[in-house]
Amino acid sequence: MYIYDDYDQKIVDQRVAQYRDQTRRYLAGELTDEEFRPLRLQNGLYIQRHAPMLRVAIPYGHLRSAQVRKLAELARKYDKGYVHFTTRQNVQYNWPALENVPEMLAELATVQMHGIQTSGACIRNTTSDQFAGVAHDEIVDPRPWCEIIRQWSTFHPEFAHLPRKFKIAVNGAVEDRAAVLVHDVGINVKLNEAGEVGFEIFVGGGLGRTPMIGDLIKPWLEPKHLLTYLNAVLRVYNRYGRRDNKYKARIKILVKALTPEVFAAKVEQEWAFEKDGVQTLTEAEIARNHRFFTAPAYETLPVEDAAFTAAKAEHPAFARWVERNVFAHKVAGYAAVTFSLKKTGVPPGDATDAQLEDVANLADRFSFGEVRVSHGQNLILADVKQSELFALWEEAKRIGFATPNIGLLTDLICCPGGDFCALANAKSIPVAQAIQERFDDLDYLFDLGEIDMNMSGCINACGHHHVGNIGILGVDKNNAEYYQITLGGRQGADAKIGKVIGPSFAQDEMPDVMSKIIDVFVAHREGDERFIDVFDRIGAEPFKAKVYEGKPIRKEKADV
């Protein structure tokens, strides 16, 4: 993991001092609401429905156990004893008092954490594959590159006030678990035939009001040019991105308006001036960042641990958990374990302070003291010995994180929605719960196989509903909360935006609607086909027919 030196620490400490002073001036009336707003946002402080909300950065999803303990401590001291992990590998406090935030940030700084650029119109926290460095299908470890981007983007003076938020994701595996195609800039780290590392650069993806898949503008970028090239992309966006209409301000609109080819040409033109300039990465700097992401002290172990195999045979529930929540590791005898934060009855992504303490202890005991956050809002211990999986499973059960549902219907992604978010059109947590309750038969859930269900409380799409196989979007209809369904969305290398199937439904209809969709899937399924494959084969019509069966045909403007 990346460890701060005096420079990094000084930057974070100076931020704490700056924000302390900004808060003081705001409370003293020296800064207006309007002035304070962008300043606090760039520190992760929103004003939500009930209280301020503080978003804390977890760069590319990595945490040390000491950091997890600090998150727990802050949840106890300054909040209501729990935190929320987000789809952007960040963590949120829902109830801090504005006056306490400088102190919280000061405490976070003691464990090398902060709220820098977790919100606001700046380059946000860079995200990546939660299995980076351990995934069996990894081509290149993306983390050193994420860290290089993190440093470059932190307080970048030229890009502190962009037209809109800006998100970068980096993937280095065969399967794309970082959703690079729905980011403002998505980067695939690749190897060429000569074994050299290079980047594939996509721009203009994003969800929200106008969901779009990113376009490839640079099929091969040499590593040393990473920062000068990104600088060029950002400069073109900063200068020419729309600022007159915040709904048209994201880079995707500019890329579409210019066409990806013209946008790419503008970037090349801009890049020509700074290419090979002073920001060109040196071998030494690349090597320095790689040194933080070396393998921990793995033992030499058999590919398959005998006791582990025996335990699976003996305990079907354990075997089931292994099947869903344990991910193949690139080192023999090790595994990556996902703790499900999607237990029925708990808001997806929430964890209590006690659970966090437990996770920190388990990380110390089983996984080199490291914890990760996935964009599916779960926690990961990435380096667990097979021989210890059984013991870990028992601990995970004890703390309520062993629901064996990763990738299944009840492992749904869900934004905080109307319970917390001031922008929401509808609640999402109770809908998630009702659906989880409907599908609480684990055997059935297992039989259904992989289904991504993603839900957002409004068109901003924080819950990534557009790229869920089944997407649920909260809409407002005559001041009542309704839910619109999209089908066919997916993330990954073949990312696609789902299509709205028709008029929306009331909250109490949702579990039935979901059952009908699943029934259609089951009726048409051949063998072990996945939901999305069935959908691709039969299209939306059979689903529509079933879901709207007996319903009066209402016309409704589809609001994607």
């Binding site: 000084k10 700056q18 020296e30 932190t154 970048h156 003076p157 920062l227 900063n238 002073v278 920001q279």
Partner: protein
């Protein structure tokens, strides 16, 4: 006379800033050093010849379009109509790095303590702090941060070229 920050000192502002009115009209005082909108200067270069004149770039003006060497001017300003409009950061940087401007680069408009550090790093050396803000407080903002990761105009080498690295 109002005060401005120039090269980290609070001094008298000797430039009169001329702004277009709602109809786009510009009325230029007959005497003294004037700071005029860049577009106005482009359209009235001959009439302004001989005057001590500086130009002010609006966020959508392009330094690329400057028909003369930037160093023809002793002072160039960029307007920040709202501090959240970051286009002026790029303009400042381009004027310094690409067009080699060495004179006074001044930020005008919605300028106050919390943006001075960023502005300084984009090459601004002068700050016309908003009249309703305390300039003595604002000047401290220049040093909100004293260490930076990335290349900037004031400290061109990124941290990775400055950081002593253990081999």
């Amino acid at each position: 006379m109002s005060k401005v920050i120039i090269n980290r000192e609070i001094v008298e502002n000797r430039w009169t800033r001329v702004i277009a009115d709602a109809e786009g009209g510009v009325s230029v005082p007959s005497e003294g050093a004037i700071l005029v909108p860049y577009q106005y200067w482009l359209a009235n270069r001959e009439a302004l010849a001989g005057r001590e004149v500086a130009v002010c770039f609006a966020p959508d003006d392009e330094p690329e379009s400057l028909p003369v060497d930037a160093n023809t001017f002793s002072m160039i300003a960029c307007d920040f109509p709202a501090f959240t409009d970051g286009r002026g950061f790029s303009i400042g940087r381009l004027l310094r790095v690409r067009y080699g401007f060495t004179g006074e680069l001044r930020a005008v408009g919605d300028v106050f303590k919390d943006t001075l550090n960023y502005l300084a790093r984009c090459g601004f050396t002068a700050f016309d702090v908003r009249a309703d803000k305390d300039i003595n407080e604002a000047i401290k903002g220049i040093d909100d941060f004293t260490e930076f990761y990335q290349s900037s105009v004031d400290v061109p080498n990124p941290l990775f070229l400055r950081r002593p690295v253990a081999a």
